[in-house]
Amino acid sequence: MTAPALAARGLSKSFGGLKAVDALTIDVPHGALYGLIGPNGAGKTTVFNLLTGVYTPDAGTVSVGGALMTGKKPSDIARAGMVRTFQNIRLFGDLTVLDNVRIAAGVRARAGMFRSLLRTPLYLREEAEIRARSRHLLDVLGIGHRADEVAKSLPYGDQRRLEIARALATQPKVLLLDEPVAGMNTGEKQAMRGLIQLLREQFDVSILLIEHDMGLVMDICEHITVIDHGVTIAQGEPAAIQSDPAVIEAYLGVPDDLAAADQEGG
């Protein structure tokens, strides 16, 4: 039995007495599509910040492929193979689409500053490889024709795609998607759903997906954890989740469109 792609054990974090995440335990198996859902303010984004090292957990551990990540810096966790996208899109706005992806694709390049300045053969080889890989990714994500545009000028949906392309460029083992369909219409949601499934097959990556939109998660995820106010209220397969009384109660009285308009902060 190999270690799961991503394992969180008893993860907890409080802010000034308020427990944002309480003893969260999840196991994302290799190649899985795992959903983390909950109503707004449930602490979903805080979970991502804990997993990726932005916050240090008060208690609990995070490991990627069996290697302990707790206490490491976000950059080291990304290098170890777990990257994320951001709910409130964080692109390198003034740079081109291609450069956005190239930056991520070159994170593990061996040529340092001196070799870059001297343009040694190793540097030139890596630079060509980075460029080719980035182009390919943009094509897969369907934004290849926009490679030379400035990132912040892209339409909203394409900015989300670019975020995913950039994350994939680091060649991750685990991909964390923070509300990838937030603010999208039905057609765009359909396209994104297809894309997420395609990514898992093409890139051999395990995906942990945050959503408050139950529909999408129920459709594509094999495993789901539901949290509310930081507490895990249900865990299991979609069918079981759907009929869980605790989940229904947590979602009751929160109309979906209202929830969508008011994005979760933090």
């Binding site: 984004t45 910040n49 932005v54």
Partner: protein, 306 residues
């Protein structure tokens, strides 16, 4: 023993001075998360305005009335408050949502503008001046053979009064609650019906008035008024800023603590080590604090929003 007591008293005076200036840095940083580079120039302007007012009211010579000092101080603080208001309104507010680097550069631009505009002939001119002696330098009392001049006593007392008043303002009034709300999250504060722009304006005015008080007292104590672009002022502001950082920037009580700590380091190092290197010690403290306690001694860690 005499030397030690004397240095303690000097620490107290210098610390009070730093505290007055540091509070302006910390208030603005607490609310807007940026370093108001022009703050040290408000100090300068406060001192120079006091000098000009004293001249205009005919109190430049000796034998000025007892109420001269409070009147001049009040006028300088009022003028500086208006200056602070205008700076924020004209230069900083258009950039409230801009990247921090741009705001920082604007602040430096404002600082340069004040420094060099102040040297124009029809403002304060290019010559250093001497502040009129509004407070007696005769000793008020003596502790352990150290004579304590009136000006030092007034400085410390006034600083104490202003700091206590500010404490009350920030922690006991509606305005203070609004300030703390804006400092926590200005957008949420706006949604809660707090007039953010107004709170920011008033914060700038308070900080500037305290800076002017610092400037006037500096002038009364050291008498020498250098030209507005002189490095002395920059250094004074810089040390006050270091005090704010050492105390934990954004933290009002920390700024006061940091000011006295820094003044102590500066004075004792100057007295017992190399006097010429006092500034080096001050920045040594800054770098040590940044290395080991980035949130300052009294702490106000801020987590960046993700």
């Amino acid at each position: 023993m005499t030397k030690f007591v004397s240095i303690c008293i000097q620490t107290l005076t210098l610390g009070s001075l730093y505290a007055l200036i540091a509070l302006g840095y910390t208030l603005v940083y607490g609310i807007l998360r940026f370093i108001n580079f022009a703050h040290s120039d408000v100090v300068t302007f406060g001192a120079w305005i006091a000098f000009v007012v004293a001249g205009a009211l005919g109190w430049a010579g000796t034998g000025s009335p007892v109420f001269a000092m409070p009147v001049i101080l009040a006028l300088a603080m009022g003028a500086a408050a208006l200056l602070g208001f205008s700076i924020e309104r004209l230069a900083y507010r258009p950039l409230r949502r801009a990247p921090r680097l741009n705001v920082l550069i604007t602040a430096i631009g404002v600082s340069l503008l004040l420094q060099n505009a102040g040297q124009l002939d029809y403002l304060f001119g290019t010559q250093p001046q001497r502040m009129p002696r509004l407070l007696s330098e005769a000793p008020l009392f003596t502790i352990a053979d150290v004579r304590v001049p009136t000006v030092d006593v007034v400085l410390v007392l006034l600083a104490a009064v202003l700091v206590v008043a500010l404490q009350w303002l920030v922690f006991r009034t509606k305005l203070g609650r609004s300030m703390r709300a804006v400092s926590w999250n200005d957008q949420t504060a706006a949604l809660m019906g707090i007039p953010v722009d107004r709170v920011v304006s008033i914060t700038f005015m308070i900080g500037s008035a305290m800076a002017a008080a610092g400037g006037v007292l500096y002038g009364l104590k050291y008498r020498q008024l250098n030209q507005t672009a002189d490095a002395v002022w920059v250094l004074l502001g810089l040390k006050a800023f270091v005090a704010a950082v050492v105390g934990g920037i954004g933290n009002v009580r920390g700024a006061v603590g940091g000011a006295f700590l820094l003044a102590g380091v500066e004075m004792f190092a100057a007295a017992y080590r190399t006097p010429q290197l006092r500034d080096v010690y001050v920045f040594g403290v800054l770098i040590a604090v940044l290395l080991f306690l980035p949130a300052g001694l009294f702490g106000k860690a801020t987590v960046e929003k993700v």
